[in-house]
């Protein structure tokens, strides 16, 4: 996926200092540096997101037929059709991404008659894992810290590349707590009762982003969008300019995209990230009252499988 890495700067992103802010401040900060950005870059972002992470796909395929699962922060919904024998509910904070996810799952459901409104998603290459016919899924708009799912009602949940966008540790732990509250108790017989969480790692020694152990963990990471990639110029203009003020803080820094001579034909959007150091994700699971079942590292990301406590990992076959 060269396209993705090309969009990210090759050198270090500007560091931001996130002190333990009041929750209102954190919410406002994320509105500017996460929610607003994804609304603005949704079609472009979506066109770069079609390949499932192997660890996520493996987790989804381990679920049994008829299982009901959540994808919290589902973005364009690329995981909703990975396992056609489960019913997936996708949620995201971004209405623009959920609209794309919906047209995408509708495309799968009505393969022969793509909708005119789905044109923005067409730039994406055909999703290989989701090319099979009907997908049993649904999508809705919701905040990861105010989820509308009934307690203990679903079999499993995935949350991929989401929690690292939350700007305080209590908020990240609360997000995990809410995921855990939605899933049933883990049994011994199947892979149900589990929550899969994946976040960006601080330890990215093999990537060209230049981040590694001991570095700054709270960063603004630029997303560069050329004019030609802004598929709805009129809409973008309206939406983008009022937010410019909010995004300026990041733009003033020596963002590589600007330094390398991008002109006005490019827009740079700064997204907030908390890069997880080794072991930190497991700590957050425990702080959220969960138990760590297993975990690992996959190409610049930490992932963990969690269950509701008390620990059930000992009863799980290895």
């Amino acid at each position: 996926m060269a396209s993705t890495s090309a969009l990210l700067s090759s050198s270090a992103a500007p560091a931001v200092t996130r002190l333990a802010a009041a929750d209102d401040d954190a919410e406002a900060y994320e509105r500017a540096h996460v929610h607003g950005v994804y609304e603005a870059i949704a079609p472009h972002f979506s066109s770069t997101r079609y390949k499932p992470w192997p660890a996520v796909a493996e987790f989804l395929h381990a679920q049994t037929s008829g299982a009901v699962g959540l994808d919290v922060g589902c973005g364009n919904g690329k995981y909703l059709g990975v396992n056609p024998d489960v019913f997936m509910l996708g949620s995201d904070r971004s209405p623009a991404l959920i609209a794309l996810a919906r047209s995408r799952t509708q495309q799968q459901e009505q393969e022969s008659q793509p909708e005119p409104g789905a044109s923005s998603a067409k730039a994406a290459p055909p999703p290989p894992a989701a090319a099979a016919a009907a997908t049993a899924s649904d999508v809705l708009v919701a905040d990861g810290l105010s989820l509308p799912f009934r307690d203990r009602s679903v079999d499993f949940a995935v949350c991929v590349a989401v929690i690292h966008h939350m700007s305080t540790r209590p908020r990240r732990q609360e997000a995990i707590r809410q995921l855990l509250s939605c899933v049933r108790a883990a049994g011994n017989a199947d892979a149900g009762g589990h929550v899969f969480v994946m976040v960006w790692a601080l330890e990215q020694g093999n990537s060209r982003r230049g981040w590694d152990e001991g570095g700054e963990q709270d960063l603004l990471v630029p997303w560069v969008m050329k004019k030609s990639q802004q598929q709805q110029p009129k809409k973008q203009k309206q939406k983008q300019h009022p937010k410019k003020g909010l995004l300026q803080e990041g733009d003033k820094s020596d963002a590589p995209a600007e330094a390398s001579g991008h002109t006005d034909s490019s827009s740079v959007f700064q997204r907030y990230y908390h890069l997880y150091r080794k072991g930190e994700l497991e700590e957050d699971v425990l702080a959220a009252g969960g138990a760590v079942v297993t975990g690992g590292y996959e190409r610049d990301n930490w992932w963990v499988v969690a269950a509701n406590g008390p620990p059930s990992s000992s009863s799980r076959p290895t």
Partner: protein, 127 residues
Amino acid sequence: MKVLTLNFLTCAVKDCKSSNNSFPLHPKDAELVYDDLEINPQLLVNVLPRVDWVALRTTSTELGFPELPEQPPTVEELESDEKMLQDLHKLLMETQIMEGKLVCGNCGHEYAIREGIANFLLPSHLV
């Protein structure tokens, strides 16, 4: 939004989650459409034990469908009765609320559904 989805949803307001009145959410001014979706019998049979049948009966009645039986069909019944399976598929998977609202029976908050997408983002005073 599918009828099956509604069976897993409650109010996003924290204080409502512990209340029995917040589930199921009540559809209001619902405009329905039917998708043409291929049936996956195994998925349907296996998903049924996860469904809160009492809540489904409420939802089904509120959407104007004929009353569902008091007890959910058994696996044997479903596997031997093609029509029952088709009916359930149509209700749970193919019926969509395209426009309307979902109302919490506890706090009264109304969540809008537009173009098939329900929006559960809360106004700041309810977070």
